[in-house]
C-alpha cells in the first residue's frame, strides 16, 4: 500500500531528472520502478530560464505564489481566531444562524462562485490584482477553520479564563497569553488548510490573474502545459518545485494535523 501511494510520484521524480521530454524517458528498475535513465538537472535549469511576455519568469512566479500564500494564510488566521473565540466563549443572539452560515460553503459547489466573485471584483477594479485572489482564499478556508478553532477553545476549561480574570488579567491578555499557546496545534492545522487552498489553487487564479506578471505557479504550470503539450520533463520539474514546499510543511506539521483535525470531527 505504501508503494502504491508513492508510485505515481516516483514517475514525476524520475521524469524530472531524466533527459528528454517524453513520458517514457525513465528506465524501469525490476520492470516496474521508474528511475532516471541518466541523472540530469537540465529541466530545472531550463524552467529557470523560462520567460513569458515582458520578462515574466519563473522566480517572479515563485515570488507571486509565496506572497499570495503568506498573505492568505495570515489573513485567514486573523479572521479565524477571533471568530472561533467568540463562538466558543460567548453566547449571543444570532450565534446559531451565523455559525450555520459559515458551514454553507461546504455544501455549495465552489467553482460556480467564481463568476459572481469575478463580477464583483471587476466592479471594484480589482481584477488583475493580488487582492482578487487573496480575499477569496482567506475566506475559502473559513468554514472548516472556524470550527477547528472553536473546538480547540472549547477543549480549554473555562476555569482557566476565570482564574486569570480574578488575578486581574484583561480579556486580550487572557486570549494572547493563555489561550493562544494552548491552541497552537489547531492554529497550525488552520494555517495548513489555508496554505493548501491558496498554494495549489488554479481555477480562481486562472480567472482573476490574467496578466502573466501576476501568475502563480499553478497558472505557469498550466500555461506551460498548454503551449508545450508534451514537454513532460520540464513539466515534472516544475511540479516538483511546487510540491516540495507542501511536502515539507506536511512533515513538519504531521503530528499537529491529527490533533487539530480530530478535534473538529469527534463528537463531544
Amino acid at each position: 500500500m505504501a508503494l502504491i501511494s508513492v508510485y505515481p510520484v516516483l514517475w514525476v521524480i524520475a521524469i524530472a531528472f531524466s533527459p528528454g521530454e517524453s513520458l517514457s524517458s525513465p528506465t524501469l528498475a525490476f520492470g516496474i520502478i521508474p528511475v532516471p535513465s541518466t541523472f540530469t538537472l537540465v529541466h530545472f535549469s531550463s524552467i529557470l530560464s523560462l520567460t513569458v511576455g515582458n520578462g515574466s519568469n519563473f522566480p517572479l512566479w515563485v515570488r507571486n505564489s509565496a506572497l499570495i500564500t503568506v498573505s492568505s494564510v495570515l489573513g485567514s488566521v486573523a479572521l479565524t481566531l477571533p471568530a472561533g473565540y467568540a463562538f466558543s466563549r460567548r453566547k449571543f443572539r444570532g450565534q446559531q444562524a451565523s455559525m450555520f452560515s459559515f458551514l454553507l460553503p461546504t455544501m455549495f459547489p465552489g467553482v460556480v462562485t467564481i463568476i459572481p466573485q469575478f463580477l464583483l471584483f471587476s466592479t471594484l477594479h480589482l481584477v488583475n490584482t493580488f487582492f482578487a485572489v487573496i480575499i477569496p482564499y482567506m475566506v475559502g478556508s473559513l468554514s472548516l477553520s472556524i470550527f477547528i478553532m472553536k473546538s480547540a477553545f472549547d477543549s480549554i476549561p473555562r476555569e482557566i479564563d476565570e482564574a486569570a480574570m480574578i488575578d486581574g488579567a484583561g480579556e486580550l491578555r487572557i486570549f494572547t497569553r493563555m489561550l493562544l499557546p494552548l491552541t497552537l496545534p489547531s492554529i497550525a492545522t488552520v494555517s495548513l488548510w489555508a496554505f493548501m487552498g491558496s498554494w495549489l489553487d488554479w481555477a480562481l487564479a486562472h480567472v482573476m490573474l490574467q496578466d502573466n506578471s501576476l501568475w502563480t505557479l499553478p497558472l505557469a504550470l498550466y500555461a506551460f502545459l498548454q503551449s508545450n503539450y508534451s514537454y513532460y520533463g520540464s513539466f515534472s520539474a516544475m511540479a516538483l518545485v511546487m510540491a516540495v514546499p507542501v511536502f515539507i510543511v506536511f512533515i513538519v506539521f504531521q503530528k499537529y494535523l491529527v490533533t487539530g483535525l480530530t478535534a473538529g470531527s469527534v463528537k463531544g
Binding site: A2, L3, S5, V6, P8, V9, W11, V12, S24, I32, P34, A78, L79, T80, P82, A83, Y85, S88, R90, K91, Q96, S98, F100, F102, L104, P105, M107, F108, P109, V111, V112, T113, I115, P116, L120, I135, V139, L142, F147, R158, M165, E171, L172, L200, W202, P218, Y232, A239, M242, A243, V246, F247, F250, Q254, V258, L261, T262, S265, V266, K267
Partner: protein, 318 residues
Amino acid sequence: MSQRGKRRSVFGRIRGSPYLFILPALVGLVFMVLYPFAFNIFITFTNMNIYHVRPCADIFAQATTGNSCYTINTDLFKNFVFVLTDPAFVQIMENSVIWTFSNVIPTVGLGLVLAFVLNSKVRGKTIYRLFMIVPWAMPSFITLLVWKGMYNYQYGIINALLSEIHIPSINWLESSNCFNPFLAIVIANIWLGYPFMMIIFSGALQSIPQELYEAASIDGATGITQMRHVTIPLIRPTIIVALLLGSIWTFNNFNSAYLITGGGPGICTTIFITQAYNQAFSYFSFAIAGTYAVIAFIILFVPGIFWTRYTGLTRSAA
C-alpha cells in the same frame, strides 16, 4: 449573563462584543460566499450567458434578440425545466450518486483498516505513515495528470503491467462503454482520498484511553470482543462524520472528476460539479451552470444538515 455583568462592574474591565470578533469573518463570508450564493440563485431565473452579461435596465422586459443584457425569464423556472428534462440529467444524476458511493465506501474502509494496522505494533510504521500521506500532500492536479499518463492505452504503465501478467490491455479512458473510464477515475480518487481518512481514524484510535483495554482484558475480553465492545463503539462517531463529510466532499470533488477524463467520453464521467463547470466555462451558459449548482446544493443540504446536527458543530459549549 448576569454573573458576567457583575464581574465587569466589579473589575471595571472591558469585554469586547462578540459581534466585533465575528465581524471581519462575517464580512468576508457575506461578500465572498453568501453574495455569490444569492447571485447564483438569482441568475437561475434569468437568461444570463456570455451574450447577455449585464443586467438590462428593465430587468423584467421581454428578452429581445440582439441586446447584450440579460432579463428575468418570463417563465421563471425555465432553466430548471430545461435542466431537469435534459436527457443527460438522469445519467449525470446517476453518475454523481455512483461516484459518491463508490469513492466514499472504499476510502473510509481502507482508511479504517490502515489506521488499525498502523496503530498496532508494526515495525517502521512512522515511515509507512509518511509514505501513505504522499497522495494527500502532493498537489492533486499534478498527480491526476500523472494518473492520466499511467492510464494511456499504448504507453501507460498500467497496461504494461497487465501485459506482464498476461491480461490484455484495457482501453481505460476512450472505451465505448462507460465502465472503464469511470473505474479509472474512481481508482485514482480512492488513491487520493484514503490518506485523509487514515489520518482521521488514527487520531480517533489514539484518543481511546488505554485503561479501557486494560479493564476489558481483566474482564476476560480478548481481541474480537474488545474490538466489538470497546473500539467500534468509541470510533463510531468518527466513522459517521467521515462518511457524511466524505460524501459531501466527493460529490463536490472537481479535480478528480475532471482532470483525467474531462467528463468524457461523452458524458460517461460527468457529475454535477463538472457539468456546472462545463456549462459556465466551456459553453458560457452561466444561468444553466447556476441551475446545476443550485440543484447540487439542494441535494447536499440533507447530508449537510445531518452532519451539523450529529457533530453538534453549531452547538455552543456549556
